[in-house]
Symmetry: C2
Subunit: 365 residues, 2 copies
């Protein structure tokens, strides 16, 4: 079946591109001398996770317990939940045997009170400058949290972990490389400082897709956790994390209205997400880049309006299209757009070669 | 079970409030002398749809064929798909027996070529000033489209239908009422003009939640199609469509990080959507209003950052909370937030009284 025959809206993943993206990151990890523990949150599909680890299973990162359970059910056993654990979900997480992130005394207390004799792997979440979660190296609280994990009888302190999410604010490779150096240097330095205080810190984990695509070296780091690179998206291409031709995901849409100044498409906020995209690079980027049948960008139409089930694309190009024509949208943010769909169509060239089923939500098991 | 014991993130629907909201709109429709054909797209739940029609089934509006199929499977038979039909989905729509919206010769041709001897109900989509889909009254194209539908041997022309979606740009009841008058007058006037040209126009359908909450009269209109009012949300409250106490939906969240300047919550873009909210009323509204245990607004924290699974709430209030505390978020846009969850927890007061399962996606059947 040709993907152009699919009902709209449908999401398409170009498997040839995914394979290239995954091979490139595996190769980068090898040459940088680190373990690759790829993140599954972008796609939540077993098939793509296997391409990322280059095997039937391997070390992975997840963002929800639903992902952890899904991958565990398919043979993955070395799983890090890379969001600080909510105390109300500790018991479930322990049942699943995933490694946990903590950075607060309350979370430590919750884990210690529920963990059995088998113990649990824990990582200390470190803020390398992103300003989301994590202890800040150099502060007394950071050292005391590390000490608490290190000295705990029931927790196995694996090491320190950070995420240079501020790489998404960059424009161009040079800026990304500077954030990558900061991400690495802050957490490697912190690990060294803890070792200087007598603590064993076996592991140092870093990673975002932009920083791992461009970092120059990873001395002192033991593993990396990028995820988005399997698919990439318009945002990554705009900031210089990848080339346009690396983007492996798009949404097939029908023109359902053709007017003098605009097209109406059958993709709205529920099919694309309302991610505003790389507005710091292009304030007029709209809600995704329009591509024609052959994958060429349509430069004279901008998808600047989204309601629940309608997309509005304005521009002089509107006159070239008719109701019923099919276009594709390269999403701003593949992680949010993939989560809109229950069935993901795997394509090679023009052909549909399979259907992937992502896990979704946060439900307990 | 108390809702405060639920795992986070979970979505909560206050059924007492939904009942009041639904009764009020049923009562408004009666006093305005029109049929209520409520929209299901906000919640996509059978249980809430039944409260909206005030019976086991009744006339409804849907935004996808998946919704149409779900409600048809639960006894609803009078269904209008209120998005212009994509030609590639005409056969499915005809199988389901839903009434269709058209406003282009291409869509008419697709329907005429596939419809059987039983025919199909069609509505002409009219643009009353919103500028999304629909023919523009007063233009030659509008009359010729109506004529094409009216004269078709296989299509049953039901009437004209519009949606005053620009009511969402309003601030306050007076502005909403002006859009409501425009929504009504444009389409009633167009129906009259078509009748003057010898066409039978039995039905005139209008509606958005803001306009139907505040319109002063509906002379010439036969049915209304609001939907969001069953739940409302932060946006509707901000523009004056409802009171804060009418909002029936919230997302339960845990504090997973507590820092000097901010809280990190376990609700990100996948649990709330990235809807920017009523920025024209409050540019700093953030991604949802934070509520405490008792439903009171937390005025000294703003949820201004969202990544995939993290929410960042900044403000002086951060110091009052600890990791593990549970809060609620009143979403900006209930339609998009409901679509993030597979299970919806129905609550009355503090108690969970049931679980609703919304349909999702666009899959064929």
């Amino acid at each position: 079946m040709k993907y152009s025959s699919l009902a709209t809206p449908s999401i398409l993943v170009d498997v040839d591109r995914v394979e290239l993206n995954c091979e490139r990151m595996l190769s980068r990890a090898r040459s940088l001398g680190v373990r690759l523990r790829p993140h599954m949150k972008t796609h939540k599909c077993i098939e793509i996770g296997r391409l990322q680890v280059g095997a039937e299973s391997g070390p992975i990162t997840v963002s929800t317990l639903a992902e952890a359970r899904h991958f565990a059910n398919h043979g993955f056993s070395d799983i890090v939940l890379a969001v600080p654990i909510a105390p109300c979900r500790v018991a479930e997480a322990l049942d699943l045997g995933v490694a946990l992130l903590v950075d607060s005394p309350e979370a430590v207390a919750a884990v210690e009170s529920e963990v059995g004799a088998g113990g649990v792997d824990v990582w200390l979440k470190v803020d390398c400058g992103y300003g989301r979660a994590g202890v800040v190296p150099g502060t007394p609280g950071a050292v005391s949290m590390a000490r608490q994990l290190h000295d705990s009888a029931r927790l196995r302190f694996r090491g320190v972990l950070t995420h240079g999410g501020h790489s998404y604010d960059c424009v161009g490779v040079e800026q990304i490389r500077a954030v990558a150096a900061q991400e690495r240097d802050v957490v490697v330095g912190f690990a060294e400082a803890l070792r200087g205080l007598g603590m064993a810190v076996d592991e140092v984990s870093v990673g975002s897709t932009p920083t791992m695509m461009h970092v120059d070296h990873l001395e002192g780091v033991t593993e990396i956790r990028p995820g988005n690179y399997a698919l990439f998206d318009g945002f990554q291409a705009a900031i210089g994390s990848c080339h346009r031709d690396d983007v492996a995901v798009s949404v097939l849409t029908s023109v359902i209205g053709a007017y003098a100044d605009r097209l109406i498409l059958d993709v709205g906020a529920l099919a694309l997400s309302k991610d505003p995209g790389p507005t710091h690079v292009d304030p007029d980027c709209g809600f995704g880049r329009l591509l024609d049948d052959s994958g060429e960008a349509i430069s004279d139409l901008r998808l600047t309006g989204l309601s629940q089930e309608h997309g509005k694309a304005y521009g002089t190009g509107a006159s070239r299209f008719r109701v019923g024509d099919k276009l594709r949208v390269e999403p701003n943010h593949s992680c949010l757009t993939m989560a809109c769909f229950s069935d993901v169509h795997a394509i090679r060239g023009d052909d549909v070669v399979g259907v992937f089923e992502p896990v979704r939500g946060w439900a307990g098991g």
